[in-house]
Amino acid sequence: MEINVTIIGQIITFAILVLFTMKFVWPPINAMMEERANKIADGLAAAEKGKQELLDAETRVAEELKHVQSRATEIMSNAEKRAGQIVSEAKDNAIKEGKKILENANSQIEQEFMKAREELRLKVADLVISGAEQILKAEINQERHEAILASLKAEL
């Protein structure tokens, strides 16, 4: 156990080692480790953000889906309503048209009937007159009974 000048040499060696470690070993390794730590932190943050975004997107999709579903239901009920309307309108129209046609036919029949009656009347009148004429020809003077015949004709 002898202390001598070796201790000075050892201190110098120690100082040199510490200085070199300070200058050439620690800074690059520390920088690398910090960079790696930052990178990992960034990666984790990005993953967290991605997860959050996915969650947001999912809720958005769910909302959109709900919206679309209600819209579809609305459209369908509208379409049903409209279809019912169209059908009932068509029914009404058909009934109306049918009625009109029926009415037309009825009035035409009436007219035809009236016309035929008129014609028949006139023919009957003529027949009656000609019959009466033929009956009366012998005994009735045409001229004398003209007025009576005319009023008869009008009455028939």
Partner: protein
């Protein structure tokens, strides 16, 4: 018996370069073995770590890089846990250097005790002594602990100011009324730190070395019976001592930055 004493003495003697015309005293001689072995080991440490530092990359680290990272992470974590003096550019490199350098010096204890003498004798045909375990030399351990003492003083002054530090030397722990007692307490505390640091490491390594030498005195057939367990146990001790030296350095420097 005298031959075994000679054997032990031979193993525990330094390779001394005599200076100052053979005068005894501080400048009289230098331990060439301690100095050059520790310098060589220090350069190995620097070479490995500087090589690693130049090659580091964030992604796809090599196994070598991961190994270096484990060591540096360990040191960094210790500093983070123990040191409360804020950001420091010195403290992690200092702790790393202490840990690795002390570990490498201690590691030499695991070389067979007669290996160097054998090579010396058979290859260089010389009987020169060479103590390979630098940390079993008080010069090496005190060199580090005295450097740490200077750093303790430096950090105290840096964080409290010169006047603040001097004031604390006289006013803590009992208040300014007991100034002389405080000062004596503080001085004892300050001086005890490097002494305990240095002697703890020196004592452990010296004792370990001595026991290896004693084991080497046994008949060769039974040496392994004690040698193997002691070597395995010593793997733990050399790591632990390097770790303790590092942690205590961090603790002392952290204490230096805190006010009492």
């Amino acid at each position: 018996m005298s031959s075994s004493t000679e054997y032990i003495m031979h193993h525990l003697s330094h390779n001394i370069l005599v200076l100052d015309n053979g005068n005894k005293g501080f400048f009289g001689s230098v331990h060439l073995d301690t100095f050059s072995t520790s310098l060589f080991l220090g350069f190995i440490f620097l070479a490995v770590f500087i090589y690693a530092a130049r090659k580091v990359r964030v992604e796809n680290p090599t196994k070598f890089q991961l190994f270096i990272e484990i060591i540096i992470d360990m040191v960094n974590q210790q500093v983070k846990d123990i040191y409360h003096g804020g950001k420091s550019k010195l403290i992690v490199p200092l702790s790393l250097t202490i840990f690795c350098w002390v570990f490498l010096m201690n590691l030499m204890d695991l070389l067979p005790v007669d290996l160097l003498n054998f090579i010396n004798h058979n290859v260089a045909n010389s009987e020169a002594k060479w103590r390979i375990v630098s940390s079993a030399d008080v010069n090496a351990t005190f060199a580090m602990s005295i450097s740490v003492l200077f750093l303790i003083i430096f950090y105290s002054i840096k964080s409290k100011g010169l006047l603040g530090w001097i004031k604390e030397l006289f006013s803590a722990p009992f208040g300014i009324a007991f100034a002389p007692i405080n000062f004596i307490f503080q001085m004892v505390e300050l001086v005890a730190k490097p002494i305990s640091l240095a002697l703890r490491l020196f004592g452990n390594m010296y004792a370990g070395e001595l026991i290896f030498i004693l084991i080497a005195l046994l008949p060769w057939g039974v040496q392994w019976l004690l040698g193997v367990p002691w070597a395995i146990f010593h793997i733990l001790i050399i790591t632990l001592q390097a770790y303790v030296f590092m942690v205590l350095t961090i603790v002392y420097l952290s204490l230096a930055t805190e006010s009492h």
